[in-house]
């Protein structure tokens, strides 16, 4: 266990440096002359986070946007990277997969999450049932990848199956299936993993929203003779519209950035790559940072409408406030 010492020392030094910086900052803020005190405070409190975000996010985003128009040797090549992206069959597959991911994952996760939240609402053992579905949220994508590899495990026909699904197929007299190898449906089997992770998130948010729908409204609908489905459609869903938008937005963004699942389960082979994974492969494995940057830029452009929409909602709320 001798390795612990060096690691601990690094952590302690880092925390000491951090404490020193914050301490000096507070001293400066407190000692500032009265005339500029408010300005110094704003600057001092905002500076550390502001500088880190400028250096870590704004500057790289600008640099990457420029890098997207260069080739492997760093020379400008106009739109070549984008032409590559929209013409090469492999790159097109990647784009196609990303679109399938961003449509299916938010849709399925939200539907399952909503259905589950409705089913267990006020049920016995609601908290335990919630925890079971929410639990995958805590598991890393890498861990989830290993868990699902185990589920999808494949053996040749005639051999005892070790994967749950192939075992069931076997018992039903069907041939075992190579879930991760057979394109194009293998993308669906990767998507299932992401749905497994995100459903819990959707369920927790939507469950809280459902409990916020006024009981009087549901009672009124019931007295009017609405059946369970009509109550759900005409009272519950409109009542939780805001939460639904938030859930769909958040999951869509998470899905666009998904990288680890594909990387650990198929490494993007067998036609399963997505933009986020391909970006890593191109930039850090294939020595094509320009192409990687172009893919990152496309990713950003895909997320942009969601940002604009949310920023507008946010601004409206601040105006009301």
């Amino acid at each position: 266990m001798e390795f612990i010492g060096g690691k601990l020392l690094q952590v302690v030094i880092a925390l000491a440096i951090f404490a020193a910086i914050i301490g000096i900052l507070m001293l400066v803020v407190d000692r500032a002359p009265k005339s500029v005190k408010d300005k110094v405070t704003v600057a001092g409190f905002l500076a550390p986070a502001g500088i880190l975000m400028l250096v870590g996010l704004v500057y790289p985003a600008v640099r990457t946007s420029m890098l997207a128009f260069t080739d492997a040797s760093g020379q400008g090549n106009g739109f070549d990277n984008f032409v590559w992206m929209f013409t090469q069959p492999e790159a097109l597959t990647t784009l196609r997969n990303t679109i399938i991911w961003t449509i299916l994952v938010p849709l399925l996760s939200t539907s399952f999450g909503l259905a589950y939240a409705v089913f267990i609402d006020k049920a016995r053992g609601e908290r335990v049932l919630k925890s079971l579905v929410f639990m995958p949220m805590a598991i890393s994508f890498v861990g989830a990848g290993i868990i699902w590899k185990l589920v999808y495990d494949y053996r040749g026909p005639g051999i005892e199956q070790t994967g749950v699904i192939n075992f069931i197929r076997d018992a039903m007299g069907m041939n075992p299936k190579q879930f991760l190898l057979d394109a194009p449906e293998n993308t669906i089997f990767l998507i299932i993993v992401m749905v497994w992770i995100q459903t819990g998130f959707a369920m927790v948010i939507l469950s809280a929203a459902i409990k916020g729908v006024p009981v009087e409204l549901i009672e009124a609908a019931r007295l009017d003779g609405a059946n369970a489905w009509q109550q759900f459609r005409n009272v519950t869903v409109p009542g939780i519209r805001g939460a639904l938008v938030v859930v769909l937005t958040t999951i869509t963004i998470a899905t666009l950035k998904v990288f680890d699942i594909v990387r650990t389960m198929t490494a993007g082979n067998y036609d399963t790559s997505v933009v986020a994974n391909e970006m890593y492969t191109q930039a850090f494995r294939a020595g094509e940072p320009g192409r990687g940057a172009a893919l990152a830029l496309i990713l950003f452009l895909m997320v942009l409408p969601i940002v604009v929409y949310n920023a507008r909602v946010l601004r409206k709320q601040r105006e009301i406030h």
């Binding site: 880092a14 408010d38 405070t41 880190l52 579905v133 805590a138 890393s140 589920v151 930039a283 990687g292």
Partner: protein
């Protein structure tokens, strides 16, 4: 912007809906009551099916991780469910993956320590820096405050993929951050965690009653005193949820680690090691489930132990209006 007080409303709804105390329910004719009961029965069944389907993969991993090594070299010969027929469990897999014996060892205890050494400072950095910025955004007065805040909100959505290449160049070529230390990972994770952190904390801090801050100011307290003595103690629930968020996120990260850690046993976190050993096929494949479980046990403990705060954080940040 208002954080929906979901838990409060939830309990209100629950008390109002207490069975038997509801006059409308008593007025229901017999037929309808039977009908609601039936539908709820189906709903419960569906909920239980979903809960089982959601838990089986993790449960399977858990059982597999305690199964002895296969008789002949190679992957195991039967599925985890057989463990219940021929009762045979061992903890040898765990000792094998944790100890640094043999060239093929996963040597996970080293990487586990790395994960701890990475995640603790990052969580502290983000909490302190984000709450300082959030305080200024909520209570500071300066021109362009709202516009700047919306800009920070939008930063959340820059895909990490866009930031990686320039940031790596900056770290190694311009700043000459030492390779083989945690510094790059700490700084990168802190940068990436700030926008969400500021956003979540801002929601909470801006809800603190203005009178509290006014009173302190009348008593002669400066901004730094107000921040450390009043704002931070009052924000503990929000800080707790952000801490859990940040912890899970950094612990589960693979992408940032792949780019900035260098992949050595001195720095790389457990997810990276896990991705490595699960990506290579070998005679010790059967150890992967135990390795995966070592990596997910801490987030699971954090998750189940602090679930309430985690959910509260999700709700205050996610649900608007």
């Amino acid at each position: 912007m208002t954080a929906t007080p979901a838990p409060k409303e939830a309990s209100k709804a629950a008390t109002r809906q207490r069975p038997g105390s509801d006059p409308a329910e008593d007025a229901q004719p017999m037929m309808r009551r039977v009908k609601t009961k039936l539908t709820s029965k189906w709903a419960t069944a569906a909920a239980i099916i979903i809960a089982v389907v959601w838990s089986v993969p993790t449960f399977g991993l858990f059982v597999t991780s305690f199964r002895p090594a296969p008789k002949q070299v190679g992957p195991r010969s039967n599925g985890w469910w057989n463990a219940f027929l021929d009762w045979d469990f061992t903890v040898k897999n765990y000792t094998d993956v944790l100890t640094p014996a043999g060239s093929q060892s996963a040597n996970l205890s080293q990487y586990f320590a790395n994960s701890v050494a990475i995640v603790i400072p990052v969580t502290i950095f983000v909490l302190v820096l984000a709450s300082m910025a959030a305080y200024v955004f909520a209570w500071g007065k300066f021109k362009g405050r709202d516009a700047l805040f919306i800009f920070v909100f939008a930063l959340q959505i820059i895909p990490l993929q866009m930031a990686l290449i320039p940031l790596l160049q900056l770290f190694t070529q311009t700043l000459h951050l030492p390779a083989g230390s945690y510094a790059q990972l700490w700084i990168a994770h802190t940068m990436f965690g700030l926008p969400l952190g500021i956003f979540l904390l801002h929601n909470f801090i801006s809800e603190i009653p203005g009178e509290v801050i006014e009173a302190a100011r009348v008593d002669g307290a400066g901004h730094s005193t107000i921040f450390w003595r009043i704002i931070l103690p009052l924000s503990v629930p929000a800080l707790a949820s952000l801490a859990i968020f940040q912890f899970l996120w950094v612990w589960n990260d693979l992408l940032v680690a792949l780019v900035f850690s260098g992949g050595t046993a001195d720095v790389a976190p457990i997810t990276q090691r896990l991705a490595e050993i699960s990506g290579t096929r070998g005679a010790r494949d059967y150890l992967n489930p135990a390795a995966a479980f070592v990596s997910i046990i801490i987030p699971l403990l954090v998750f189940f132990g602090l679930q309430r705060y985690f959910v509260r954080g999700l709700l205050s940040g996610g649900l608007k209006g």
